[in-house]
Amino acid sequence: METLNKEKKAIKGGEFLISETSPQDVFTPEQWSEEQKMIAQTCTDFVEHEVYPKVEELDAMKDPKLMPNLLDKSGELGLLGTSIPEQYGGFGMDFNTSMLIAEKVGAGYSFAVALSAHTGIGTLPILYYGNEEQKAKYLPKLATGEWKASYCLTEPDSGSDANSGKTKADLTPDGKHYLINGQKMWITNGGFADVFIVFAKIEDDKNLTAFIVEKGFGGVTMNEEEKKMGIKGSSTRQIFFNDCKVPVENMLSERENGFKIALNILNIGRIKLASATLGAAKGVIKNALNYSQERKQFGKSIAEFGAIKHKLGEMMARVYASEAATYRAGQNIDDAYDALVAGGMEEGEAKLKAVEEFAIECAMLKVHGSETLDFVVDEGVQVYGGMGYSADAPMERAYRDSRINRIFEGTNEINRMLTIDMLLKRALKGKLDLMSPAMAVAKELTSIPDFGGDDDERVLAAEHKLIKNLKKAGLMIAGAAVQKLMATLKDEQEILMNLADMLIQVYALESAVLRTERIIESEGVEAAKVHIEMVKVYAHYAVDEATKAGKQAIYAFAEGDEMRMMLMGLKRYTKVQPHNLKVARRTIADYCLDKGDYPFN
């Protein structure tokens, strides 16, 4: 394994679309080390022993001390300092390990949101943009949880359009302080935070500037807790800053650098959200597997019904793909970071650069993870029937708590558009050559289809071919859309969404295939039997989604011969080998029912 890793090819963000990745170049969850597994188990133990018994109480929000106390306890275990370097009281773990932690904690309902807001958007701006004094002052306290953090970007009139905030920061005449005035909204951990990362504008600046604000600075007041659909136990407040006096040395990074900070921290938040949704989804799956075996109707456990097995099999396949994609990208980030540090870059800067390199993947994963979880909780409720609708069973909470994930860390619409926007920008800058492969596809379209030699003997040869073809379909449509619409493409959001959907499916499917290939290589086909069925199930889902999105895009901008040709191309590129998916889902479901849990790592 060591040698394999050393030979790993350096991969660029977004490159998946134009080049083939080999299984040895991806990390799969089957490779977690003993130490990573132990870390994961600690998180799971904490969630099961400390969080689950208090879930009702947390959601009732009667005791405002309960959540901060739980955070303190998790701090004692070191869970709040995993990403913080050792010199500031943390453990300096790598990126993929921090994602694994986010996953395991992600099964913890509201607690997961509180913890990730503290360790993510609350702490990371200081870690990555703070100067030495700021890091030394704040990080050790944030690492233990002595101080809790929150992140104040959103305002009543500034949500997705985050740079449009009205909060002001005015320098005092003596030049020693900024007076912050304004209103922030939807601030997670707001009710008990000691430290606020506040984004505000100085004078008539175009861009935001970030500040580290301590509650003790004065001038910070807040509204009551928001009444929410889900994650009810997580504190969410409107916060008012009235002449809040912030020492000038508490400006983070430079003036007008706040928007960039916000975006870069969000990149990290997005991919971590993807891993958190995996944890939540696995929790739901475990419950669904067990309930379906206990619940009897018509003299049988409902798990024996094909309709239920269908749901279980489909849930597994989608989570499996999401998981493969999430940690594949996580490892890409770690590898890019290692390479940058080896090249002499400072560690904090290297981490940001590495994540930024894979910002496209982060955005896609956020969408895929949150929508997979929404699918899983929806079917989870259905498996539970009436009990799924009862607040006495766990599905109801899981269903409500899932929904926020499509909204925060950038709505899924924003993330879909970003996916395409970033990709095209990289192409324009010459960082990714989308043009030549797109032109090659256009040429291929007008030539006779190649029926020749399928000499690929891999078990998943058909899926490999499908991935290649789906990429061609994406490039064909994207290329034509860019050519035809040019500068107005950015206003044709529907088409951007369609394109994003295609790419997300390509990435998820390719990740699932590569993961499975690796298992086949290391353990043989027999051991990978169920994994192969999951790939087949996922491939059909992915191709259906991609076909639907592709057609809609073509209808939206093409006409006449061009439309006909592209529709034909789409048909050619979405051809998929028939497979008995009924049997596949049953095989997956039976295997997992026997294990009683999501059993794939």
């Binding site: 130490e35 132990m38 600690t42 133990d45 869970l79 026997d594 009683g596």
Partner: protein, 244 residues
């Protein structure tokens, strides 16, 4: 204070149990292993005592290399070093002989679980006490050490007994002897730097030969009888369950 904690490497309590090879071999595929739950409490108390009084905690397991992740978890929880006696732990007498051999080194306290959760004999502590010629006590639910004397609460039929014994001795522990410990990040990261010494077993012929395992019969369906239908219940107990 030198404390030796003996831990088992056992299937997680929620594992599905199955056998292979004509019911003579436990099917370990996909089974997650843990530190025996009672041993886990013994370990937690050992770490607490070390924190309060100083000294060292050594964990000992008689087992194959497969036990090592479990042993390292014990190191992550707070043991200072570990010893693995490299052998299949296939019978209680054999295991006890190995433990006694290591314990001869001289420990002030030898803590074990009240019983393993895979074979549940609850005899290894007594055997080790016998082999070393020192007292063994089980199940111990409270353990305080003051100088050379330990005060313990023991569970007895329908009540609790408090006893005092001079060190050294062997104790089989159970909750609530200590607060159960989740290994923390620092512990996990330092575990890899702590010594794990592998030693070969000594003599001690295995005395038990395994013939066969049998799973308990599957539970039948549950019938619910309404409160007011006592007669119906009696009839069922007579005719169907045949217990009256």
């Amino acid at each position: 204070m030198k404390i030796l904690v003996c831990i088992t490497h056992v299937p997680d309590t929620t594992s599905k149990i199955a056998f292979t090879d004509n019911n003579t071999k436990f099917d370990s595929s996909g089974v997650q292993y843990i530190i025996g739950p009672y041993d886990d409490y013994a370990l937690a108390r050992a770490v607490e005592l070390k924190e309060a009084h100083g000294g060292s905690v050594t964990v000992l397991n008689v087992g194959t290399a497969e036990s090592e992740p479990t042993i390292r978890k014990a190191l992550a929880i707070g043991a200072d070093e570990a010893i693995r006696v490299n052998a299949e732990p296939t019978d209680s007498f054999f295991v006890a002989s190995q433990i006694a051999e290591v314990a001869k080194e001289g420990y002030d306290l030898i803590l074990m679980g009240r019983e393993s959760i895979d074979f549940n004999s609850g005899v290894v502590h007594a055997l080790v006490g016998e082999m070393l010629g020192i007292v063994s006590v089980s199940p111990v639910m409270r353990l305080e050490v003051e100088g050379n004397t330990a005060t313990m609460d023991r569970e007895i039929e329908g009540g609790k007994q408090t006893i005092q014994i001079d060190l050294p001795f062997v104790a089989g522990c159970q909750e609530p002897i200590a607060e159960w410990k989740i290994p923390n990040m620092r512990g996990i990261m330092t575990a890899r730097t702590k010594p794990l010494n592998v030693v070969e077993p000594v003599g001690g012929e295995k005395q038990v030969k395994l013939v066969d395992y049998e799973l308990p019969a599957a539970k039948g369906a549950v019938k619910i009888v309404a409160q007011e239908e006592v007669n119906e219940l009696v009839k069922m107990l007579q005719n169907e369950a045949k217990v009256l």
